[in-house]
């Protein structure tokens, strides 16, 4: 199980291996940090929010997004190809009938390019183990009380796909322009632990 390793035995082992690789000339000093920085660069929940706002104003985009998210997000200048290989993105849309929530029970898989680095609670064993069993209870602890008639779909990112939730457009936002709509969307909304 993964978790916070900052002072753990495995951290010391990783630093030791890194030092050996550098000593043998297989790795430049600081290269791993540089690669991680490159991977994280530009990753922000503002990206996911932009996708959502476009989907709210453009039903055609929504349809393309739900059918093939990797291709659709290129229309707003985004991509899942920032890592070693392009990761498959699946966007799941909330409706009046169904609310979606994302977890990675095995570790902490997450679409960093669209949501930025994941929050600590997403990586916690409590969230990962409980949300698959009792999503309604966990969402309630996040302050999200769903109507009894709304079913819940949990998505476990157990393999190579990454997930993002498309929240429902809040009522009373008909007059807002796309950029302001994006400002309504939160990281929790994109994971499914908030309504928007």
């Amino acid at each position: 199980m993964s978790g916070d390793h900052s002072s753990s035995v495995i951290s010391a082992e990783v630093r030791h291996v890194e030092a050996l690789l550098e000593a043998r000339g297989l790795l430049d000093a600081g290269e791993i940090d540089t690669r991680i920085d490159e991977f994280l660069a530009g990753g922000s929940p503002a990206n996911g929010a932009r996708i959502v706002a476009r989907a709210w104003v453009d039903p055609g985009f929504t349809a393309r997004l739900l059918a093939d998210a990797n291709t659709a997000i290129r229309e707003v200048g985004l991509s899942m190809a920032g890592g070693l290989q392009e990761q498959r993105l699946k966007v799941v849309a909330n409706t009046a009938e169904q609310h979606n929530v994302v977890v990675c029970t095995l570790c902490s898989c997450y679409p960093i390019a669209l949501l930025g680095p994941s929050p600590s609670w997403y990586k916690s064993e409590a969230y990962r183990s409980r949300v698959v069993r009792d999503p309604r209870g966990v969402l309630s602890e996040f302050g999200l009380e769903l109507p009894a008639g709304t079913s819940i779909a949990v998505w476990d990112a157990s393999a190579e796909s990454r997930y993002m939730v498309l929240p429902r457009r809040p009522e009373g936002t008909d007059v807002l322009p796309e950029a302001e709509l994006a400002g309504l969307v939160t990281r929790k909304g994109l994971i499914g632990t908030a309504a928007v």
Binding site: K90, V132, R133, D156, E160
Partner: protein, 94 residues
Amino acid sequence: MSTDRFAPGDRVRTRATDPAGHTRLPRYARGAVGVVVERAGEHPLADERARGRSPSAQAVYHVQFRAAELFGAGDHTVTVELWEDYLTPIEEAR
């Protein structure tokens, strides 16, 4: 090699065994019956890669389970992404 044994709507049972090493079949989803909802590309089996091997790619699927099937209670669904190797057609499993 693309295998593609399953299509959306197929009922499948997941492997029940606890492997000695790494796997991406979560414990809570073992030995359970679910429905294939979508093919999710093809990738080398993570279990084999973790053992230092270079397996060929095989199909990966989104498989949806009812919470009651997994945990004995609950009215939600859980959709897990599973490699073909983890899955048996439901007819064969019986």
